[in-house]
């Protein structure tokens, strides 16, 4: 228990989290501090390219073993299964409309890459190893949830989607799969796998050394955006706010069990818990907004960015690590 408190304190006092808090405070105080739109986009591509390359190089090193294939299949299963739990809770406990429940579920089945990056930085700092293929698992989990969200909406409210003249499902899926962040993550993963460790030597000084500093800048921006979204929490109500904390705990529990079943290390198990616990706010919001125009997009964004993300990066990461050690 002492160790948990110690690691939780380490996490809270890391530059990454402190920059997040700085952004939050600046936003609350209505400072004019903000990163330009183009820079945010550029930084997020840099981070995706960096983590993708890293994962690809580890894959080249470890090889495409059976455990990598199983891990990717398990990730696909998580992406399909978690939205079903979220949908059931939202629909039958929260009495939300079908489109709202389906849209929010899709966010929770997908992943937050920045939470994953913060967790992997935390692991490195605390001296834990983790499997490189967790990054491939993250890439697998980006999109299936969008398909499930669409299916749930169509299945439980077939008239709703048609009457709205929603964008055809095929087009939504195509756009989700070809979202810039997803393309650069998967592309860098392949480039890393092809070039292997030799590639790391040539691009490492650009892609790996400044990584944590750039991540701090991104977290600064996340703090600003999260505070703005959090300000809307009165609009989402008590039930949804509670859901924003409960759902990551459920997702983390399923992720921990998955990591354990896959026979992964403590660090790897924590990262799978993060994949289960986190909710997307990059690729999914725009995709679901186009697919389900009648769903209220501020519900999903307030939950994913204003509640679940801050919870996961501050309390979630050390808590899931504590649990990962406990089950090992």
């Amino acid at each position: 228990m002492n160790e948990f408190i110690q690691q939780a304190t380490h996490n809270l006092l890391s530059p990454i989290i402190l920059f997040f808090v700085l952004g939050w405070i600046a936003s609350v105080l209505k400072s004019d501090l903000h990163l330009p739109e183009a820079m945010v986009r550029g930084i997020s591509y840099y981070l995706m390219a960096s983590i993708g390359l890293k994962g690809g190089m580890e894959l080249a090193h470890e090889g495409w073993t059976a455990s990598v294939i199983w891990a990717c299949l398990a990730a696909g299963f998580l992406g399909l299964f978690l939205p079903l739990i979220a949908f059931s809770l939202l629909r039958w406990l929260g009495r939300l409309s079908v489109v709202d429940a389906a849209a929010i579920s899709a966010h929770y089945g997908s992943v937050s890459a920045v939470t994953f990056l913060a967790a992997s930085a935390f692991l490195t700092r605390e001296g834990y190893e983790f499997e490189g293929y967790t990054i491939a698992m993250m890439a697998v989990m980006e999109s299936p949830a969008i398909a499930i969200g669409l299916l749930l909406a169509t299945f439980f409210d077939p008239s709703g989607r048609k009457a709205e003249g929603g964008t055809p499902a095929g087009e939504v899926l195509r756009e989700a799969l070809l979202n810039g962040s997803v393309v650069i993550l998967v592309g860098a993963l392949i480039i890393g796998a092809v070039t292997g460790e030799h590639g790391a030597e040539t691009v490492g000084p650009f892609f790996f050394d400044p990584f944590k500093g750039v991540l701090c800048l991104f977290l600064l921006h996340m703090g600003i955006e999260a505070a703005r979204r959090f300000a809307d929490f009165r609009q989402v109500g008590l039930f949804l706010t509670g859901f924003g904390i409960l759902m990551p705990l459920i997702g983390a529990a399923i992720g921990l069990a998955t990591g354990k079943l896959l026979g992964m290390s403590i660090g790897g198990t924590l990262l799978v818990a993060i994949l289960g616990a986190s909710a997307s706010y990059i690729a999914v919001p725009a995709a679901m907004h186009v697919a389900l125009p009648k769903a209220n997009p501020s519900y999903s964004m307030t939950l994913a960015l204003g509640i679940t993300f801050p919870f996961n990066v501050t309390i979630g990461i050390p808590l899931y690590l504590f649990l990962a050690k406990w089950i090992h």
Binding site: E37, A38, S44, V114, E164, Y281, I282, H289, P293, M301
Partner: protein, 107 residues
Amino acid sequence: MPYDPKRMKKVEIVIEAVKLQQVLKIIDQAGASGYTVHESVTGRGHRGYRRGGGVSDLYANAMIITLVDENAAVRIAEEVRDLIQDYAGVMMISDVDVVWPDYDQDQ
């Protein structure tokens, strides 16, 4: 050359960035010969302040300007009106005098 402007309709549309491509398609199908797009516009409307894109494209906006004849303007207006039921946006149509080379004569 004498000053000889052409009377046309200027259609200005501000719309969520996620719907930009669909609006451009509507404009093309209405027979417009071209358009101008401003990306990264921000502003306040019925759905509150839309600051533009950040990590997600959800709050990004775009503005499109096109010059068309009256029939095309009506056609665009009808289709875009349906779109801004569900998405943030506004549309303005005005009479303008357009000065541009007479491309028809070149052919």
